[in-house]
């Protein structure tokens, strides 16, 4: 049996409301809130980046796993906002949690599914017996161009998962990936902000791949939507995960525990992984969870986890995701937000 032995989440305290962004651009806040089902999003502080958030989330995962970090044989950081174009994030993380030097490390990038890619690889290495434990993190400090629809959702956060073959809190039942070449969202080297295909990011991109992955995995596992207690989809906005859930035959009740986006925004590589941490926070032993990520370009990774008894022993060992989302919030005005996100050009 292999699966998750520890998990951790990190969400910055800063928030900005949809109204505050809309006010600056003369946009109609109620229609954005209704259209995207978004209220506010998290914002990283100036000294926070993908690496620092990965370290925070990983330390929490280690607390829940209760393992010696030197037994971690693989460390993967999935993000589209790695602080360096050349120089790994994973080495800093591995060093910070004391997992070096007997460790394989890689940075992954696949738009919003880089986090689940790392999970896929770390889990596979554990299943192959190549490593005792594997750590995978999905983290992003996402950027949306000022005034673009993405600015209302591009948020920051990280989720970390340690995979292993003993002390499991959620057993991996099955995995499946669904990938095509679909250019719905991209950022070329030296470009600061990503570009997207507008409505093309919907049906032929998000919906096609999530449905392809979810249906493919359920067929392999011979399961149907009613067999799951919870389902977590990638959450680029509030509406898409609810709609794709409905199209696949899931209920809002199954989706809601991991549906963080209205108050969190889209944390890109951290999005569905954070939804999974919030779901594990409340899941009971024996319950079944389906997770389906989505990354533009495009592909979806899908996982089925079965929660074990050990969940009750570990969930209180680190902060819970909903508490990170709801407590100690610090609301920013657009000016401070613009400074924090380095949207203001200063003298050289």
């Amino acid at each position: 049996m292999t699966g998750i032995v520890g998990y951790g989440a990190y969400i910055p305290r800063n928030r900005i409301k949809v109204e505050e962004i809309a006010k600056v651009w003369g946009a109609d806040a109620p229609s954005y809130k209704r259209g995207l089902m978004l209220e506010e999003k998290s914002v990283p502080s100036p000294d926070q980046d993908t690496i620092s958030m990965s370290v925070e989330a990983s330390k929490r995962a280690l607390k829940r796993a209760g393992i010696d970090p030197r037994e971690i044989g693989a460390v993967y950081v999935g993000s589209e906002s790695h602080p360096y174009a050349v120089k790994p994030s994973g080495t800093v993380l591995a060093e910070a949690i004391d997992a070096t030097p007997d460790v394989h490390t890689a940075d992954l990038e696949f738009a919003c599914k880089a986090g689940t890619e790392g999970m896929f690889v770390a889990l596979s290495l554990v299943q192959a017996g190549a490593v005792k434990y594997g750590l995978a993190v999905g983290a992003d400090t996402s950027q949306g161009a000022p005034g673009d629809a993405l600015e209302y959702s591009a948020a920051a956060g990280a989720a970390a998962f340690i995979f292993g073959a003993d002390g499991i809190v959620a057993e991996s039942v099955a995995t499946y990936s669904y990938t095509t070449d679909t250019p719905d969202f991209w950022r070329r080297e030296y470009q600061y902000y990503p570009q997207h295909g507008g409505r093309f990011t919907g049906d032929p991109a998000y919906f096609k791949h999530i449905m392809g992955a979810a249906r493919g995995l359920m067929a392999r596992a011979k399961m149907k939507p009613g067999d799951f207690d919870y389902v977590v989809f990638h959450q680029p906005n509030g509406k898409f995960p609810l709609r794709v859930g409905e199209m696949l035959g899931f209920t809002k009740k199954q989706i809601e525990p991991g549906w963080l986006v209205p108050k969190l925004g889209n944390t890109y590589s951290g999005s569905s992984p954070l939804g999974l941490t919030a779901t594990l926070d409340i899941a009971k032993p024996g319950q079944m969870i389906l997770v389906v990520s989505y990354g533009s370009g495009a592909g979806s990774d899908a996982f089925i986890f079965k929660v074990t008894k050990r969940i009750d022993e570990v969930r209180d060992l680190a902060p819970k995701t909903r508490d990170l989302l709801d407590d100690h919030k610090n609301y920013l005005e657009y000016g401070v937000y613009a400074k924090y996100r380095r949207k203001i050009r200063k003298a050289e």
């Binding site: 109609d28 229609s31 259209g35 295909g197 507008g198 409505r199 093309f200 049906d203 032929p204």
Partner: protein
């Protein structure tokens, strides 16, 4: 002039056709029309397309589309008159057959609009306005029609709800059209609470961005009779221009080019507006349909809003307007719209319009418009 008949129509489902290119959409539609007409050749083709250069980076459409239809070396022309490019293509095809220059003419309209971003599409559409006097100052079509709407509301007391009723009516009709981009109903509340685009126009007052094509086969009426085809005659064709810039108009609540084009088409047909049973008109925005019904004489000047409120223009009203769902619900691939209007009227006059059939329709009219009315093309069709 020879009498001209429409003997074949073709149209496929409209929408965001991301898996099809301009040439594919055109060829599928043209082949449907050729099949429907049962002809084994075409002598010429005319294609209406507003802006393939800006939308897909392709000009020289006549030759390209003749090639992809497998019809080279047939003579082929692409005509452009902004959003009335399709109507103009029909008129050119009509003239070609009527004059005796060609016998069997394929008339098509096509536009592929979703390969570019919303901003790029807005820019491309904006080239139908006067760039020096309107476009360069930041005006787009929603802005221009919003000014027309405000003026109409101020001058005649047209209400915000009446504008919404145009969208509700056309979506009701469109819900019965399986080829429509948005074949569903909307409520007045949904229109009034939809996203504001340019005050007072909201998103559900605006026709959408659409990929699509439509095609019609024309031939001399005598030839059609010999082929034992159901003859739908083009009884009248009229076209008129107006100043391209809204600021140069005498009255921005009145679409003069439609009035003049309709008068010419009706005079050629020897008919009055009361003689017709259905109307496909250019509702690019809800206010446009209200103003067009006035210019056609369906409603009195200033009473277009009341006409829709009183049900005069509904499917079962005295003057059914846009039984197809109009540009609002059916979609608005700009160059294809004028030809699709003809496809709808021909289907209606053949009694093949299904759930949205206007009972006993013998004569119908199409009105296709460029810009804010800088050009209008009107055709009158009669079932023999």
């Amino acid at each position: 002039m020879r009498d001209v008949a429409a003997i074949g129509v073709g149209m496929t489902k409209w929408g965001e056709l991301w898996d099809k290119s301009l040439r594919t959409i055109f060829a599928e539609t043209a082949l449907l029309a050729i099949d429907d007409a049962g002809v084994d050749r075409i002598d010429s083709m005319v294609v209406g397309c507003m802006s393939s250069g800006l939308f897909v980076g392709q000009e020289h459409l006549g030759s390209m589309l003749a090639d992809y239809l497998g019809r080279v070396p047939v003579p082929a022309a692409r005509v452009e008159s902004a959003c009335s490019s399709g109507g103009l293509a029909l008129r050119q095809g009509f003239i070609e057959v009527a004059s005796g220059m060609s016998d069997i003419v394929l008339v098509a309209g096509v536009e592929k609009m979703t390969d570019v971003t919303g901003c790029e599409a807005t820019y491309a559409l904006g080239t139908a306005a006067d760039q020096e006097y309107e476009g360069f100052h930041g005006l787009t079509f929603p802005g221009l029609y919003a000014m027309m709407a405000v003026a109409h509301m101020h001058k005649y007391g047209t209400t915000r709800e009446q504008l919404a009723m145009v969208a509700v009516k056309n979506h009701d009709n469109g819900s019965k059209n399986p080829l429509a981009q948005f074949p569903f109903k909307v409520t007045i509340d949904a229109v009034l609470n939809s996203v504001l685009v340019a005050d007072p126009l909201r998103i559900l007052d605006c026709s959408p961005i659409t990929d699509g094509a439509a095609a019609v086969i024309l031939c001399p009426a005598d030839m059609a009779k010999k082929m034992k085809k159901r003859v739908i005659r083009i009884a009248g064709s009229g076209q008129a221009t107006d100043t391209i810039a809204l600021s140069s108009r005498k009255d921005i609540t009145w679409i003069e080019s439609t009035d003049l084009a309709a008068r010419k088409a009706l005079a050629m047909a020897g008919r009055k507006i009361e003689d017709l049973q259905l109307f496909e008109v250019h509702d690019c925005f809800t206010i446009a349909e209200i103003m067009v019904t006035e210019a056609l004489g369906i409603a009195e000047k200033g009473r277009g809003g009341r006409a829709v409120e009183e049900g005069l223009t509904s499917l079962t009203g005295k003057f059914p307007v846009n039984p197809s769902g109009g540009l609002k619900a059916k979609g608005h691939p700009v160059g294809a719209t004028g030809v699709a209007q003809a496809v709808e009227v021909i289907k209606q006059l053949r009694g093949e319009a299904g759930e949205r059939q206007v009972k006993g329709a013998k004569r119908g009219l199409t009105q296709n418009m460029g810009g804010t009315g800088g050009s209008s093309v009107v055709h009158v069709f009669e079932a023999e």
